[in-house]
Structures are given as C-alpha cells and as structure tokens.
Symmetry: C2
Subunit: 189 residues, 2 copies
DNA sequence: GTCTATATTTGGATAGAC
DNA sequence: GTCTATCCAAATATAGAC
C-alpha cells in the first residue's frame, strides 16, 4: 500500500505549503517537491489542484477535531476555553509568519467566483464556532452563539494583526485579554 | 491632460477589482477592462503589476485618511471612536462579500517571499492603529496602544468571520459589542 | 502504480506602428 | 500618448512508456 502513503504525504505537504505560500502562489510542483513525489504522479491521486486544496482543508479540519477532543477531556468548560486560547497563543510564531491556517485560507477562497471551496472553509470555521458555543452554553451564559463569534473573531483579528505586523507579542497580549474576558464573563457580577 | 485621467481611472479600478478578486486572481486585463483602457496602454502608466497593487494600496490609504480627517471634526475622542465603528458596520454588505480591503490585502501580500509590498500594507494598518491610539490617549486611558490593537483586531476579526460566513449580521452584532466595550472603558468604574 | 515528456492555456510584459 | 500584435515564461493537465 505505497499509494496510501503517498496520498498522505501529498495531503500533509499541501496543508503546509498552501498555508505558507497561499493557494494562488503555490504550484503543484511545490507540493510535489515537498512531498517528494514526481509532479506527473500527483495527478494519479488528485485530479485537479482544487482537490489538493480540499485535502489540505480536511487536514486542518482534522487538526481542529484533534485539538477539541483533547480539550474535551478537561472537566470544566471554562478551562477548555482558556486552554483553547493558550493553544492559539502557543502558535504565535507561526501566526506571525503565516497567519491562521484556516483564516487565511478562508480570506483567499472567498475571493473566488466559484463558491464550492469557500463554502467548505465556512463549514470548518462553523465547526469551531459550534464547539465554542457548546462550552459557553454549558457555562449557562446567555447568547452562547454570540459569545462564540466574539471569541473566534478575537482569534482571527489578533492572528491577522500579528501576521501583518510580524509581531508575535500581539498574540500574547491579546490572548491575555481574551483570558481576562472569559474570567469576567463567569465571575457572576 | 488625458493621461492623468487614465492613471486615476486605472488606480480606482485596481483598488476595486483587487479587493473583489484578490491580487493573484486579478489580471492586468481585468483592471484595464474595468478602467476602460486598452491592455497594452496600461504599461505606459504602470511598469509592472506590482505597481498597480501599490497604487491600489495608496488609494485605500487615502480613503482611510479621508475618514479619520472627517472623524477628527468631532470634539470628543470617544465619539470619534464610536463613529469609526459605525463607519465599519455601515460597510457590512461589502465586508460580507469581499472582506476588509486592507485586511484581505494584508493576508494575501504576507504570503509573499518578497517583503516589499507587505511592509507597505503593514504601514497602512499602523496608520489606523496610531490614529486609534491617539484617541485612547486623549481619553486618558492606560495602555492606549494595546487598546488600539484590541479595537482594530476586533474589526479585522469580525470582517473575516462576516466574509467567511457571508453574514453581514455578524458585523452588526460585533459592532454593537465594540461600542459597549468603548463605553465600559470610559464609564470610570 | 510510477514517471517523463509534452501539450495547452494563461497572463505578464514588450515591440513597434500610429 | 495610444493601441495592436506578439513574445515568452509559468503552470495546469495529459499522453503514454514502463
């Protein structure tokens, strides 16, 4: 089953290279080279470039599922949310260089006239929003959906500024602010 | 002076089309067509595509300068900041379709290995941050720089989610939240 | 399943007539 | 200053040998 192995390598390479270079500036050859697969052979596994983008998106969705599964082991929903923020902040150097993998992909795909892939990326973002909403609801807070949007928007905003200004410290400071915000929400005053 | 006119039309067209389609998916022909200028003639005014991107960026910077100049007419810095948020929210339909002009441009340009244009876009974002910082400082608040980052990150975050989910209502709700946040900052408790 | 060679298209950029 | 025709490079995708 060497084929399965190559498919996985191509998927992993696509996720990494597309994040770093963006969709439009990445060539099939770039991905093939990173995966150490000859260019022509790529088409045996993925018929078009868009299928590689789709595979990369699924890879990011998988990482997100892994992360939330890990967080779900924590008993307290508030701790889960705080740990999520900490996980984001721990990625600050990558964010400073390349931004949030899903966020930058969404921004790029949303520019397309063809609305197939950008509906997909919207769905992945919704998975994160839904998970966060569940935590806020478990805490008994009002408007858990709005709170989830505020949290994720906070993350996307700090990622973009961190990236645009190439300054990981923004991520640290804004992460601290989000943690404090989560505390005030639940301090019941 | 027909030349000046064409240059301006090309600049305006570049700003609009690059915002809608993104840099990489926009061809010189797209911009030329929108500006109603023959393709070959474009190169008389702009030697490369990157010069057109630079021109579009300057156009956005000009719009920002116009907006802040207008806001500066308001006597109270808090009113200025609130009016800024309201100006953002009023653009919610455009944001839902194409995102924030400067933010999406920054995300795209930051993917480049060549760091010329992405330093430029960072500078434009800094202009906005500096203006906001001035307002927070005028209000006598501590850490005005951090507050400016939080405000602009809030804008970029809500723009990205609004765009990715194609939902202008997110912009309305998050805008309201930013206004309430500005109020709590200054309510002096 | 793998890989090389190549067909095809697109788009940035230029030459040169007017 | 204006515009057409075209060059050329890059990149997606395919053909077909192994």
């Amino acid at each position: 089953m060497r084929g399965v192995d190559k498919r996985r390598r191509l998927t992993a390479a696509a996720a990494q290279v597309l994040h770093r270079q963006g969709v439009e500036r990445t060539t099939i050859a770039d991905i093939a080279k990173t995966a150490d697969v000859p260019v022509g052979n790529v088409y045996y596994y993925f018929k078009t470039k868009d299928e590689l983008v789709q595979a990369a998106l699924s890879e990011h969705e998988g990482s997100l599922a892994e992360l939330t599964a890990e967080l779900d082991k924590l008993p307290d929903p508030l701790d889960r949310l705080k740990a999520l923020v900490e996980a984001w902040v721990s990625q600050r150097d990558t964010a400073a260089r390349y931004g949030c993998p899903t966020g930058t992909l969404a921004a790029e795909l949303d520019k397309r006239a063809d609305g197939t892939l950008d509906r997909e990326v919207g769905r992945v973002i919704r998975v994160l929003l839904d998970w966060a909403e569940d935590q806020f609801r478990a805490l008994g807070l009002p408007d858990p959906g709005d709170l989830a949007v505020t949290l994720v928007a906070g993350y996307q905003g700090m990622s973009l500024l961190t990236n645009a200004l190439r300054d990981p410290d923004i991520m640290t400071r804004e992460g601290d602010r989000l943690i404090r915000w989560l505390d005030t929400l639940t301090s019941g005053t």
